[in-house]
Symmetry: C2
Subunit: 242 residues, 2 copies
DNA sequence: GGGCTTTATTGTCAACCTGACGATAACTAT
DNA sequence: ATAGTTATCGTCAGGTTGACAATAAAGCCC
């Protein structure tokens, strides 16, 4: 390694692409910037990494700070890093983007930072919203990751609450992939995949139509006796390709 | 964002997990450290990011510097970031790990830095070698990425040279996955997948056994007329799971 | 050359999975 | 009760996979 001269140091931020499903549409959490640069534009929630912190921890902290939500639900993972050159007019800044898949939760407008946080439909964000920095590219990459992730992992279920119906889960797949899926084939695949769904024995009530069975995600940490708990769907639930 | 106080700055490095296949075994490029910390241990090639650089560019530069190879073959992509806390005794250092999949190339011991670079079998590196920093964890993550990557992408072929036989390609899958594959079924799948292999019309000669047809990877940048070039294998070539 | 060994390639076949879609079941609304 | 709606179960043809037989085409040894 060329460690002869003193290394350059960079500010390091974490950004979070928080995705949720609202009314069968995929939404992303964005914050209106109150300061320059990109004042008035929308940006992903995020902020500077503190000394000694780890990256996912920093992302969780920033997300909590900017939404006022203490115990963030869902699944948070690292997406990828961007920079340090050519993405902030103030100079080199490295950012480590993260992906949060979460059930819909209200953004409490508690702190001053959170006053302008809100959910925006993803397609609208990509088409017509004014996004700061390279956040449009990060959002594109996050979407591709999310689309791919739910093919091979049971993580689509984290968009739902603790208990959910097969139709709600299908709605998640349809929202993330932007396609329609056959309810009967999806039901067969979802309920037939080992280590994916666990029947709670309870049913929905009050909705229109026939009541549906309520399922929960098989807890990978506490595997059912005998049954192999899979963190991976095999075979996967592949999205339709053209 | 909490941009009130001056943000902390961190040294940022890039590390590269360079993988290749030598004699049907997966190998990784490691460098003997000549300086503290971890003097005498083996480490992934890497170094500090320079101002204004982009990450993959920095990884390519460091790799070239430390191997003496000017035009690095193969496929280089970002793997993920680690740190900044708790991974370097000298203090906070953020590192962005990268993954290189490449055909076997000689490590020229040209520069002083490269004198101690060499290929090591991956299983040996994980079991018995003394790896510096958190490079063992990075190697584990890189392996998982590589195993997964060749399921869905044609990238296994970059381990081979320009032209290769189906058997050589199968050897790559076997080396990366650590499994044996049925030659007949693999041949059917590899040659039958659209947008994957392209027959050169040429054959091997001189080897033992019947001569084999030589293929090349379909160039995604220059699609064959009519045929849909796929950067993704669909359906994938799934590794056997227990 | 003739037989043997080795590797490549083509087939065969049953099990499984998928997409398309019919048929019921069990509710709510009128 | 009747209609509308959603959930769930079945059926069926076509594609894919894993296991494995059979053939092809070279080199090797005598």
């Amino acid at each position: 390694m060329s460690e002869t001269s003193a290394p350059a140091r960079f500010p390091v931020t974490v950004d979070v692409v928080a995705l949720t499903v609202v009314n069968d549409r995929l939404n992303v959490l964005l914050i209106t910037r109150l300061i320059e640069p990109f004042r008035g534009s929308l940006a992903l929630p995020g902020g500077f990494v503190l000394p000694g912190e780890d990256l996912v921890g920093a992302a969780a902290r920033e997300l909590a700070e900017e939404t006022g939500v203490a115990r963030m639900p869902g699944h948070l993972e690292q997406l990828g890093s961007y920079g340090p050159g050519g993405r902030d007019p103030r100079g080199d800044v490295l950012t480590v983007a993260h992906l949060l898949l979460a059930p819909n939760f209200p953004v409490l407008a508690a702190g001053s930072d959170a006053e302008h946080a809100g959910w925006y439909p993803v397609d609208q964000a990509l088409e017509s919203l004014d996004l700061a920095f390279d956040h449009r590219q990060i959002l594109v990459d996050a979407l591709e990751r999310a689309k791919s992730k739910i093919e091979y992992s049971p993580l689509a279920a984290v968009f739902c609450g603790e208990e959910f119906t097969v139709a709600q889960l299908r709605g998640v797949y349809e929202a993330v992939w932007g396609t329609r899926l056959d309810p009967r084939n999806f039901h067969r695949k979802a309920t037939g995949t080992a280590g994916f769904l666990e029947d709670t024995g309870r049913m929905t009530t009050g909705d229109t139509g026939r009541p549906a069975a309520l399922f929960r995600l098989v807890d990978a940490a506490r595997p059912a006796p005998g049954q192999p708990t899979r963190a991976v769907l095999n075979p996967p639930l592949m999205r339709p390709r053209p």
